[in-house]
């Protein structure tokens, strides 16, 4: 079940960490209202999505670092056609690709909260909003975005 006020309807696939835990620090962080992404403990390079090794220095014990959930819109789209039964009859919504200047410019996908027909400006500053969901397979949180100001 979604929390009251979730951006999209119930029934979209619920995220689960892989059995080997590759992305577990990310999902555990979101559940605590924190954003954690990979940063190599050896060479300091940021990388996203999560991977088993650092693509720059090839060390396997890539670290994680907490970053502020603030960024700017790098690109966006407004889906209209429902691609999942949960979206039938829902109408348009906004998906944004957010660049995190505080984390080496890595990018994260989320929804842009507010009116789905609002004009969207690439480069606009956005702040993260943690959206908590209950689910039979395990509760989880998503990271959504709202335009600053």
């Amino acid at each position: 079940m979604s929390a009251p006020g979730a951006y999209l309807p119930d029934g979209l696939p619920a995220p689960r960490p892989e059995p080997d835990g590759l992305s577990a620090p990310y999902w555990a962080g979101l559940a605590r209202n924190e954003l954690w992404v990979q940063r190599c403990a050896h060479c300091g390079h940021w990388q996203w999505g999560p991977e088993y090794l650092c693509f720059r220095c090839h060390r396997f014990d890539v670290g994680w670092e907490r970053v502020e959930p603030t960024g700017r819109i790098f690109s966006w789209e407004r889906p209209w056609h429902p691609v999942n039964p949960a979206l039938n009859g829902h109408g348009p919504y906004l998906v944004v690709l957010v660049e995190l200047p505080g984390a080496g410019g890595i990018r994260i996908v989320g929804n842009l909260l507010g009116d789905p027909m609002q004009p969207v400006r690439i480069g606009a500053e956005v702040d993260g909003v943690f959206e908590h969901h209950r689910h039979q397979a395990g509760d989880y949180a998503l990271l959504q975005w709202k335009v600053r100001g």
Binding site: L12, P13, P17, W48, E77, P79, W80, L87, R107, N111
Partner: protein, 392 residues
């Protein structure tokens, strides 16, 4: 020794089944594949017993051992599957087959693709699952699930960086539908499209309207490749492979839309290798088939192959430039994925061969250099160039 495929391998035959709307094939996928292969062999004047290899892409389900048994091949020598989904690998499948022939691994390799979606799932719908892990856990819960949604984000960024693009997308769609009206094989034959209808069509995901998105279809297509030497004794005007290249840019597959060269079809490092092998440049191309998963992808792929600057797409893709016979660069002359058939782009290779033979329903007079750009943004991507005897 120069390492190249240029002029070493030729297309001996092409074949396809009737093309159907998705789910409408009266026959199963494997039978469609057999029909296309037998037709391509008949076109080549070669017995199916002489095939000794199969090459495909996009995880084609037609197992080469079963194909080999069904067709009674004397022996099977080369089997190759190009990694990657969609049509990104269509030109690579031809290149891989040609490489096998040029290297002496096989003599007669069939490139094939078959689709019967009544038997299997649609591509354009999001998957119906309760939970998701890995790459897609970072996008699906936000309602970013389909190929259209995955690529709209790139095209939106391209439009932001360079300006324009909406007019180019419209012209690309109109060109495909225009050419399909001359092509009786085309699923959209007899269903013309005009600009007003395009403009009034619904959004699938901004910036893609309905007509910016490919069809999904049933059918099969096959191409028979042999050595250049052998092709000279076969019935058709020889059609040689001048170049093939595939791959993708640095970290193009980074999850959650983290490709560094983001607003791109990922042909950045691929296209220069294609031109180098073919010893040609964009101005030499007489006719282009460019895979339309989405019209915006055509725009990106054509830009990255150097046909025009990214800031001038709306002028370059003016409709009159794209139409056979007289356009500056006739595009998708069979109707392509939008209006002939979504055979994951192999129908584009067949059409490129027809242009060299002079048998297209929208023929470009005297076409000697005929190019195919495979599925843009669907990495690894690939492209190829075919040429007549005069280009060798």
């Amino acid at each position: 020794m120069e390492r190249t495929l240029r002029g070493k391998v030729a297309v001996a035959g092409i074949g396809e089944t009737a093309y159907y709307k998705h789910g409408r094939s009266p026959e199963p996928e494997f039978k469609l594949a057999l029909r296309a292969i037998v037709a391509a062999c008949a076109d080549a004047g070669i017995s199916p017993h002489d095939i000794d290899g199969f090459s495909s892409y996009s995880n084609d389900r037609c197992d080469p051992s079963r194909l080999s048994a069904a067709l009674g091949l004397r022996e099977l020598r080369y089997t190759g599957m190009q990694w990657g989904g969609g049509g990104g690998g269509v030109a690579a499948a031809v290149g891989n087959a040609a490489a096998a022939i040029a290297a002496g691994l096989a003599d007669c390799v069939v490139v094939l693709r078959a689709l019967a979606q009544g038997q299997f799932d649609r591509f354009g719908r999001g998957p119906k699952v309760d939970t998701v892990s890995g790459e897609f856990a970072l996008t699906w819960p936000y309602g970013l699930m389909s190929p259209a949604q995955r690529f709209a984000m790139k095209v939106m960024r391209f439009m932001h960086e360079h300006g324009g693009g909406a007019d180019a997308q419209r012209a690309i769609a109109l060109a495909s539908y225009h050419h399909a009206q001359a092509n009786p094989r085309a699923v959209m034959h007899g269903r013309p499209l005009d600009a007003a209808t395009y403009d009034a069509s619904r959004w699938i995901v901004e910036p893609f309207r309905l007509y910016d998105c490919c069809m999904e279809n049933d059918g099969a297509a096959a191409v028979v490749l042999v050595s250049a030497q052998r092709a000279r004794d076969l019935p058709h005007r020889p059609c040689y492979l001048l170049g093939a290249a595939s791959g993708s840019n640095h970290r193009s597959g980074a999850w959650s839309h983290n490709a560094p060269d983001y607003a791109s079809a990922s042909f950045g490092p691929v296209a220069p290798r294609l031109w180098q092998m073919a010893r040609l440049e964009p101005g030499d191309v007489d006719v282009l088939q460019s895979y339309e998963n989405f019209t915006g992808g055509v725009m990106l792929g054509v830009v990255e192959h150097g046909f025009c600057e990214p800031g001038e797409v709306d002028a370059f893709f003016a409709l009159e430039n794209l139409l056979a016979p007289g356009g500056r660069l006739p595009l998708n002359t069979s109707g392509g994925n939008l209006a002939e058939c979504y055979m994951h782009g192999l129908e584009l290779v067949l059409e490129a061969v027809r242009q060299i033979r002079g048998t297209s329903t929208s023929q470009v007079a005297g076409a000697d250099v005929s190019m195919v750009i495979g599925g843009p943004m669907t990495t690894p991507v690939s492209s190829l160039i075919l040429g007549s005897q005069e280009t060798l």
